[in-house]
């Protein structure tokens, strides 16, 4: 493991694509054996950070060390020590499960891998499908297969890019258990990216909130939540309601507009809501939503927007997956 106890350590990490600053001077330290989350909207730079840390993309500026090796100077040794689980589930669909493992073993230069591969297949309950082409696997099985590939060479760090995107609720819960299990049982450091609040909150010991390529906050989920000494009330109203009327309600400390909705920062939702209903007529309120301290409210507090609305182009990922699968068939 790494000498200083950090599985990942990056300073001033920066990536520029032409004039676009995709990652902007990020400092990151991930203790060995922990699960670390990068939480942010689509297009915030999460995937780019993974690409930089795995040597897949060149670092424009700054330093990074992963599993004890400098990513810029020694990328091949970093790559021998990291595993990767892609957001879009990347396997060779024309090969069987076992052949995918075989190829991974060849690419990682393993000579004695079959015993471990068999145990991984058993752990992920894929043993009886090992000879079938992975193109015939269900989405959950494909994801498991990908994690088995990532674990085959005993990596010190696994990068999981949006591990549960596009999965239904059951598979997502199954994967959460799996990620926690892999971290504990295999002692592997996990860096995952997500734009699901619940996922980051539930899995990660530490979370960095990222927006427009910058870390806007970093800490344990409870530290981050404790930082926001406020609740948020989100409401859609008729046009007669103005910012001035909302700001005048006692307990409302700020009013912002996001799309069709007002976002009110309030001292306590329980105290402010009755006053809000007095100040506005019920027919003026079309929708109301209370955000208690959560990673979502942290994000709202720091950036003034919700994570799922902040992406520059919020994609329909299910549709995206269907297209990918269709193209493969």
């Amino acid at each position: 493991m790494t000498g200083n106890g950090w599985a990942i350590s990056a300073h001033g990490l920066t990536k520029r694509y032409g004039s676009l600053l995709a990652v902007d001077h990020v400092d990151l330290e991930v203790p060995a054996g922990s699960i670390f989350g990068l939480l942010g909207p689509n297009g915030a730079g999460k995937t780019t950070i993974i690409k930089l840390l795995t040597g897949l993309s060149d670092i424009t500026e700054g330093t990074a060390s992963v599993a004890g090796h400098d990513v810029r100077r020694d990328p091949m040794h970093v790559k021998q020590r990291v595993g990767w689980v892609a957001a879009e589930v990347i396997l060779d669909d024309d090969l069987s499960g076992w052949e995918n493992l075989w190829l991974q073993a060849k690419l990682q230069r393993l000579t004695d891998w079959k015993g471990r591969a068999e145990k991984l297949l058993a752990y992920f309950e894929l043993t009886d499908r090992r000879k079938h082409k992975v193109g015939t696997y269900s989405t959950g099985m494909r994801k498991k297969m990908e994690i088995a590939l990532a674990l085959l060479h005993q990596p010190e760090v696994i990068f999981m890019d949006e591990p549960t995107i596009g999965l239904d609720a059951n598979v997502r819960r199954m994967l959460w258990e799996l990620i926690t299990g892999v971290n504990k049982e295999f002692g592997v450091t996990v860096l995952l990216t997500s734009h699901y609040i619940e996922e980051a909150d539930r899995l990660c010991q530490r979370v960095a909130i990222i927006d427009h390529g910058k870390f806007v906050a970093i800490g344990t989920p409870s530290e981050l939540k404790g930082r926001v000494q406020a609740d948020f009330v989100e409401l859609e109203t008729s046009e007669a309601v103005t910012a001035g009327r909302l700001a005048a309600i006692p307990g409302v400390s700020s009013v912002a507009q996001q799309g069709p909705a007002w976002v009110l920062r309030v001292s306590s939702a329980e105290e402010v809501l009755p006053r809000l209903f007095q100040a506005l007529r019920t027919d003026e309120i079309h929708r109301i939503n209370v955000e208690k301290p959560s990673l979502e409210s942290v994000f709202i507090d720091l950036t003034g927007k919700r994570i799922d609305q902040a992406g520059s182009d919020v994609q329909d990922y299910r549709k995206f997956y269907m297209n990918v699968r269709r193209a493969r068939q």
């Binding site: 795995t54 091949m76 990767w84 990347i90 060849k106 752990y123 992920f124 060479h153 299990g181």
Partner: protein
């Protein structure tokens, strides 16, 4: 998922080469075998690879089969009297076939980029040069499939195959070198592309002129000077001439050895330039 903890007790160490320079042989063989598995599991690819040169023989050869012997003799300058057009054409079709197979390697590379598999490869200790060389050798190997089929078809059409095992080996080596050279060239040109259409366009652009200006279909002696100038330095022509000498005329001369040397130089040059370009420009996605 399995809950029994003992299933997780995995061997502590895996056989792995020691630190320092990260060798590439294992990755190369893995990627090469993958190319082969993918190719030979796709019956469609095999059928097309085989049928295409066969059609050349049938249609192009058929077109000339009824020409009066005197006309043919005038056309096939330098060929011994009585040479059938099909036996003249066969080495040419074998050679032009090896030229276009590079397109498959380029397409498989673009597929890997588009489906993200290139990321899966390059996130392991595998260099871009290794990926490039495995693809290049993979498509050259694929091209070899058509050779026995072509020979069998030619024999069925009544062509007599001359030569001996040693000269056949030289002819085959020439075809392999030609295939390696062109698949390296195709892959180098398409290294930075992610567009499905690129390999087809590049293939048409390169294949057509080099096929006609090569002496593969007709003796270059009947060409206008500018086409003959191209034919004189065209590797497709080198290979066609070498194989024609062996398979059609049953000879293997010092000139043929020179042709083999030129084909080796062509392959080495293309692989060298291609590896350098791929290292620099091979796109991940």
């Amino acid at each position: 998922m399995s809950t029994a903890t003992e299933t997780l007790q995995l061997p502590a160490t895996l056989g792995r080469a020691s630190d320092g320079y990260v060798g590439q042989f294992s990755q190369f063989t893995g990627l090469y075998v993958r190319e082969m598995l993918r190719t030979f599991r796709n019956p469609f690819v095999i059928v097309i690879t085989i049928v295409q040169p066969f059609m050349w023989l049938a249609f192009f050869g058929g077109m000339f089969s009824t020409l009066p012997a005197s006309v043919l003799q005038g056309l096939l300058v330098g060929a011994p009297p009585g040479t059938s057009y099909l036996s003249f054409l066969l080495p040419g079709v074998l050679s032009t076939g090896m030229m276009s197979i590079g397109m498959f390697g380029a397409m498989s590379t673009i597929q890997d980029k588009r489906f993200g598999f290139m990321k899966r490869i390059l996130i392991t200790p595998t260099s871009k040069a290794t990926v490039y060389l495995a693809k290049s050798l993979g498509s050259a190997t694929r091209g070899l499939v058509q050779i026995p089929v072509m020979l069998a078809a030619a024999i069925a059409f009544g062509v007599t195959i001359h030569g001996n095992p040693l000269s056949w080996a030289a002819s085959l080596l020439g075809l392999v070198l030609l295939g390696l050279g062109f698949s390296s060239l195709f892959l180098a040109i398409t290294a930075s592309s992610t567009d499905w259409q690129t390999p087809g366009v590049v293939s048409n652009f390169i294949t057509m002129p080099l096929m006609f200006a090569s002496g593969a279909m007709f003796p270059s002696a009947i060409y206008p000077p500018w086409m003959k100038a191209i034919a004189d330095v065209n590797p497709v022509g080198f290979s066609a001439e070498l194989s024609r000498s062996v398979l059609t005329y049953g000879q293997f001369t010092g000139h043929d050895l020179l042709l083999l040397g030129l084909l080796a130089a062509f392959a080495a040059l293309m692989i060298g330039i291609g590896t350098a370009l791929a290292t620099k420009y091979l796109k991940v996605e």
